[in-house]
Subunit: 631 residues, 2 copies
C-alpha cells in the first residue's frame, strides 16, 4: 500500500481534490509521502563518494555538528527537498549577517563593563544616609539612595552612550540586511528557475477548500470548473476571524495586567519582609519571577492561539500558498503582541507613577515605578528571560520530536515485528519517521529578529545570543530534515512569501522603537541636557533629579522633575522638548538614509540583471528565427 501511495505522489507531484491527499484526509490511508533515497548512515565498508545516495551526502556533508563552520549546500538541499525548504535554509543567511551585529554588540557591552567603574554616579554611592528616599509603598519605610549603588552601576551597563550608537547601527543593519536578502532571493530564484513561478496559476485548490466550498464556479484563469467560495461568506468569515484575533489580544492584555499585579504583590511582600538585601533587590526579584510567569503565559497562549488559527484558516483559501500566507500573518500578529506586549509595557508605559499625595493607581495598587537602575535594566532582564527561555523551550520541543520518533519506531516494531528478519523495505523504514511539520514553526523563529532590532538599545548582547542559537538551530534542523522527518513533498516557491513583509515591518518598527527608547527610557538625554545647561560634569546630577514632596506630606525626596506642588519644572519641559526633538531628528535621518540605501542598492544584482536580459534577448531571437523557419 505505501509503495503505491508513495509512487503516486512522488511521480505526479500534484495534489488534486480527488487525489491521495483526500484519501488520507478521509482516513482511507494512514499516510502518503515520497520515499527517502535510502538510509542516511554511511555503510560500514569503504565506499566511493559517487556511490553515496543524496541523503547520505546531505547527512555526511551537512547535517552533522562537525560541519558547523560550513556554508549551506543549497543546491543539494533544493534537489532533495525542493525549493521551499531550500529557501528556508537560504534564509539562514541571516545568521551570517548576525556575525557583525554580534561582534559590535559584544564590543559595546564590553566597553560598558570597562567604563562602569570610571562612570560611577558618585552622588549615589557616596551619599550614605544623605538622601533618605520616599517610601515605595504605603506601609514601607524610607530608604537610602546609597542602598542602590550596585544597581545604579549595573544600570550604566545598559544605558551608556555606546548603546545609543548601537541602536543606530542596528537600525541600519536591519535595513541593509533586508536589501541584501532581496538580492539573494532574486539570485536564488533565478538560479533555481523559479522567477516566473506564479503559484496561483499552477497550484491546485487545497482538498480542505474543495471539500467545504459551497458552490462550483469557472476559474477565470484556467477556465476549468472549480470549487468556489462566494464573496459574501468570505467577508463574514474574515469578520469572524478578526473578532477572534481581537478577543485573543484582549486575553493577552488581561494576562499582562495579571503579571503586573503579581509583580506588585511580590515586591510589596519583599519590602515588608524587613531584610535589607531582599528590600533593595525586591524590584529585580519581582521582575524575574513575573517574567518567568509571563513566559509561561506566552507559551501557553501561543499554543492555544495557533490551534485556533489553524481552525480559522482551514477553509477559505484556495491554494496552499494563500493559506500559508494568511495563517502566517494571523499567527504572527498574535505572537507579536503576545511576546512583545510585556517588554513594550516595561519600556514605554512603566514609570508613570504620579507623585506623593497623587499617585496613579490601577485597581487600587500604586502604579509601578522602574527599579533604581532605570527601566532599561528591567527591560534587559525581561528580554533575557523571554529570549533565552524561549530558546530553551524550543530545544525541549526538538527533544520531544526525537522522543516521538523513537516511540513511533517502537510501536511499529511491535506491529511489524514478524517481518523483521528480512531487510525492512524503504517505505516501512520511512513510515517509522515523524511526518514533516512544515516550515511554519521554523520561520516563527523570526520573532527573534524583532528582539534583536526593536529592543536592541536595552540588550546589546541579543545579537550574540541569536547568533549562537541560530548556529545550533541550523544543524539541528538539518539533522531533523535528513534523519528524523519523512521526506516532505517537494514544493516550489519564488520567495519566502509574507514573511518578507513581516520582516520589513519589523525593521521599520525597530527604528521607531529605538528612537523612543533612547529618548524616553534611557537616561542619555537628561544627562546630556544637564551637562549642557549647568556644568560640564555630572556632579550634582542625582540631587538635581530629586523632587521634594508637598510640604504637608513627608519631606523625603523622590525622583522626578517637579516643584513642591507636584507641577513639572521648566527643566522637565525643556527635557521633553529635547526628547521629542531627538525622536524627530533620529527618525527623519534614519528613514532618509534607509530610503537612500533602498534606492542605491538595486534589488537584483547587476550581473544577474544582465544575465536575465541576455536570456530574454536570446529567447526572443530564437522565437523570431523559429517563426521565420516555419514560414
Amino acid at each position: 500500500v505505501y509503495e503505491i501511495l508513495a509512487r503516486t505522489v512522488y511521480g505526479k507531484r500534484k495534489r488534486t481534490e480527488v487525489g491521495v491527499d483526500r484519501l488520507v484526509n478521509e482516513g482511507a490511508y494512514t499516510a502518503a509521502y515520497p520515499l527517502h533515497e535510502g538510509p542516511f548512515k554511511l555503510p560500514s565498508h569503504e565506499i566511493h563518494p559517487d556511490e553515496l545516495n543524496q541523503r547520505q551526502v546531505l547527512h555526511y556533508y551537512w547535517a552533522r555538528w562537525c560541519k558547523w563552520f560550513k556554508y549551506q549546500p543549497l543546491d543539494h538541499i533544493r534537489e532533495y527537498f525542493g525549493e521551499k525548504i531550500a529557501l528556508y535554509f537560504a534564509w539562514l543567511f541571516y545568521t551570517a549577517w548576525l556575525l557583525p551585529a554580534a561582534i559590535v554588540g559584544t564590543l559595546i557591552f564590553v566597553s560598558g563593563v570597562m567604563s562602569m567603574d570610571t562612570n560611577t554616579p558618585e552622588d549615589i554611592c557616596t551619599s550614605g544616609a544623605k538622601y533618605p528616599m520616599c517610601p515605595l509603598c504605603k506601609t514601607c519605610d524610607a530608604w537610602n539612595m546609597s542602598d542602590i549603588c550596585t544597581m545604579a552601576k549595573l544600570g550604566y551597563l545598559f544605558d551608556h552612550p555606546g548603546t545609543v550608537l548601537f541602536s543606530v547601527f542596528m537600525s541600519f543593519w536591519a535595513v541593509t540586511f533586508l536589501e541584501f536578502w532581496k538580492r539573494k532571493m532574486a539570485t536564488l530564484a533565478h538560479h533555481w528557475d523559479c522567477m516566473d513561478f506564479h503559484e496561483e496559476e499552477q497550484e491546485r485548490p487545497r482538498p480542505e477548500f474543495a471539500a467545504t466550498a459551497p458552490t462550483v464556479e469557472e476559474n477565470p484563469v484556467t477556465g476549468v470548473k472549480e470549487p468556489y467560495f462566494p464573496e459574501k461568506t468570505r467577508l463574514s468569515r474574515m469578520f469572524t476571524g478578526s473578532m477572534v484575533i481581537v478577543l485573543m489580544l484582549c486575553v493577552v492584555i488581561i494576562f499582562l495586567v495579571t503579571v503586573v499585579m503579581c509583580r506588585g504583590v511580590i515586591s510589596v511582600m519583599m519590602y515588608q519582609s524587613g531584610s535589607p538585601v531582599l528590600r533593595t533587590e525586591a524590584g529585580t526579584i519581582a521582575n524575574i519571577c513575573s517574567s518567568i510567569v509571563n513566559l509561561g503565559f506566552i507559551l501557553v497562549m501561543g499554543q492555544v492561539y495557533t490551534a485556533l488559527a489553524e481552525q480559522l484558516t482551514k477553509w477559505m483559501h484556495r491554494t496552499q500558498t494563500q493559506h500559508d500566507n494568511a495563517f502566517t500573518l494571523k499567527v504572527f500578529i498574535f505572537q507579536f503582541v503576545n511576546f512583545y506586549s510585556s517588554p513594550f509595557y516595561v519600556a514605554f508605559f512603566k514609570g508613570f507613577v504620579g507623585y506623593p499625595t497623587n499617585y496613579g493607581t490601577l485597581f487600587g495598587m500604586r502604579n509601578e515605578d522602574c527599579g533604581p537602575g532605570g527601566c532599561l535594566i528591567e527591560l534587559a532582564e525581561q528580554l533575557f528571560i523571554i529570549m533565552v527561555g524561549k530558546q530553551l523551550i524550543n530545544n525541549i520541543q526538538e527533544f520531544i520530536i526525537k522522543v516521538k520518533a523513537w516511540r513511533q519506531k517502537r510501536t511499529l516494531a511491535s506491529v511489524l515485528g514478524d517481518n523483521e528478519q528480512d531487510e525492512p523495505r524503504r517505505w516501512e523504514e520511512d513510515y517509522k519517521l515523524v511526518p514533516c511539520g512544515g516550515l511554519f514553526e521554523e520561520y516563527l523563529e523570526m520573532l527573534q529578529f524583532g528582539f534583536i532590532t526593536i529592543f536592541v538599545a536595552a540588550f546589546p548582547l541579543a545579537p550574540l545570543f541569536a547568533l549562537l542559537n541560530n548556529w545550533v538551530e541550523i544543524r539541528l534542523d538539518a539533522h531533523k530534515f535528513v534523519c528524523e522527518y519523512r521526506r516532505p513533498v517537494a514544493e516550489r516557491a519564488q520567495n519566502i512569501g509574507v514573511w518578507f513583509n513581516i520582516l520589513e515591518a519589523l525593521s521599520h518598527l525597530s527604528v521607531i522603537a529605538n528612537a523612543f527608547l533612547i529618548a524616553f527610557t534611557s537616561d542619555f538625554l537628561p544627562r546630556l541636557l544637564y551637562q549642557y545647561k549647568f556644568r560640564n560634569d555630572l556632579n550634582g546630577y542625582v540631587n538635581f533629579t530629586l523632587a521634594y514632596a508637598p510640604l504637608n506630606y513627608t519631606d523625603y525626596p523622590y525622583k522626578a522633575f517637579r516643584d513642591n506642588d507636584g507641577m513639572y519644572t521648566l527643566f522637565y519641559w525643556e527635557l521633553l522638548a529635547v526628547r521629542l526633538g531627538f525622536i524627530i531628528a533620529f527618525e527623519h535621518v534614519v528613514f532618509f538614509v534607509l530610503r537612500a540605501i533602498d534606492w542605491i542598492v538595486p534589488d537584483v544584482p547587476e550581473s544577474l540583471e544582465l544575465k536575465i536580459k541576455r536570456e530574454r534577448y536570446l529567447a526572443k531571437q530564437a522565437l523570431a528565427e523559429n517563426q521565420e523557419a516555419l514560414l
Copy 2:
C-alpha cells in the same frame, strides 16, 4: 530630399548610429521627421466622418476649446503619436483628481471667509493705543497693535482649524492619487501591450553617445559590438556633474539671500517714509516686490541651468530613456530647490529674530520677522505670485512658440515662394512646423504637484488654480501637438519613468512639510494650548503672547514667550513640546495610514490581474500544444 528622409525614418522607426539622426546631427540634412497624415483642418465641403484622416479626427474631437469637458481619446493619441506622448496625456488624469481637492480647498477657503468676522482676535482690533509695540527697525518708531487689525483678520483666513484639516486631507489625497495612478499606468501598459517592453534591450545607443564613446565593447545583452564608456570616465563625469549641481544650488542660495536683503531694505525704506498706510503694509508690499524679483531670478536660473544640464547629460547615457531619466532628475532637483527655497525660507526659517537687546543679524541687518498676519499669510502671497506668475510666463512661452511657428512659415514661404502655385507637398507643409520639443517641459509642470501638496496649509486655493491651469493646458498642448508641431517619432514607453519616483518623493515630503507647517508656522497650536491651559476662550490671548523687553531698554512689548531677561518662559517650552509631539503624532499616523492604503489597494487592478494570468495561462497551453505537435 525630405521625402526620402521622412520615409526612411517613418518606415523603420529605428535610429542607429549610422542612421538619419547622425546625418542630421552632422548637418547633412536639416531635418528628419515622420509626416503628418494630412491637413488638420476639416475640408470646406461636407465629408463622411470615416473619410477624415487621424489628424483631422484628433483636431476635431480633441484639440479644440469647445471640447473642454471631454475625456482624452488616449487610444487615438497613442495611434497617432505613440505611447510616450499618449502616456503624457494620460498623466493629465491628475487633472480629474484635482477636482475634489479644488472643491474641498475652496470650501475651506470660503468657510474661512465666512467665519473671519466671528473669530476676530478682539484684543488686537479694540486695543486702540493700549499696546504700543516695539519698533521694527533701529530708527523706526513704536507702533500700535491695533494698526494691524486688518492684517490679523486676513491672517485668520490662512490660519484657521480648517486649514489643518485640509492639509491632512491633501496628504491622503496625494498618496491615494499615486496609488490609483499606478493602477491606471498598469492598465494602460497592458492595454497598449507595453507591459514587457524593456527599453534597454530594445533601444539602440543614442547617436551622441556613439559619437563620443571612446572605446568599443561587446554589449553583454545582445552580443553586438557597440560604443562604450569605461567605468572610470563615467565616475569622473558623474563627479563633475554633481559638482555643477552643488555650485548652481549655491548660486540659488545666494540669490535667495539677495532677495531677503532686498526685502529688508524695501521695508525699512517704507517704515521711514512716515506714511501710516505704507508703514502697516510695509511687510506686504516688500514681500510682493521681492517675490516678483525672486520669480525673475527663478526663471532666469531655470533657463541657464537647463542649458547647462543638457550639456552635462549629453554624452554618457547609452539610450534615450536613460538619458531622459538622468536629465529629468538633474533638472528636477535643481528646479525644486530653485522654486521652493524661498517658500521654505518663509515657512520655516523666517521669524528667528531674537529679542530686543539681542537681535539676530545677517550681514548687519536684523533678521526678518513675519508680518503681523503671521508667516502663513506671507507664504500664501509668495506662493500665489510664484505659481500664478509661472503659469503666466508659461502661457507667454506658448505664445512664443506660436510666433516661432509663424516666423518659420514666413521664412520658408520666401524660400519656396516659387513653388507656391502648386499644392504644397506634405513634407514641405510639415517642414514649416516647429520641431517637437519633447515632453520634458510639459512634465516639468509637475512642480505644481509640489505647490499643491507641500504648502497646501498656507494656500488652500492652490488646487483650484492648478485645476484651472491644467484644464487650459490640456487643450493648449493638444492643439500644439496636432497643429503646430511636426509629428514626433513615435516612441514606446511602459510608464512615465523617473517622474513617478519624483512624485512619490514629493508626496512624502508634503506630509513632513505639512506637519512642520501646522506645528510651527501656524498659530493653531499656541491658541489650542492657551485655551486648554487657561480658559476656554481666547480672551487675553494677544496680551499673553506679548513679552516685555529687558528693563534697561524700552518698555514696549514684542511678540514672544519670553520673560524680562529674554529667557524663554515655561509656556514656551510646553508649547515646544506640544509642537514636537504634534509632528510626531501627525507623521506617524499619516504615514501609517498611507502604508495601509498602499498595502490594501493593489498596484494592478484585480480584473487586469486576472486577465494577465489568463493570458499567460493560454500562452503556456499554446506553447505546450505546439511543442507536442512538433514532436
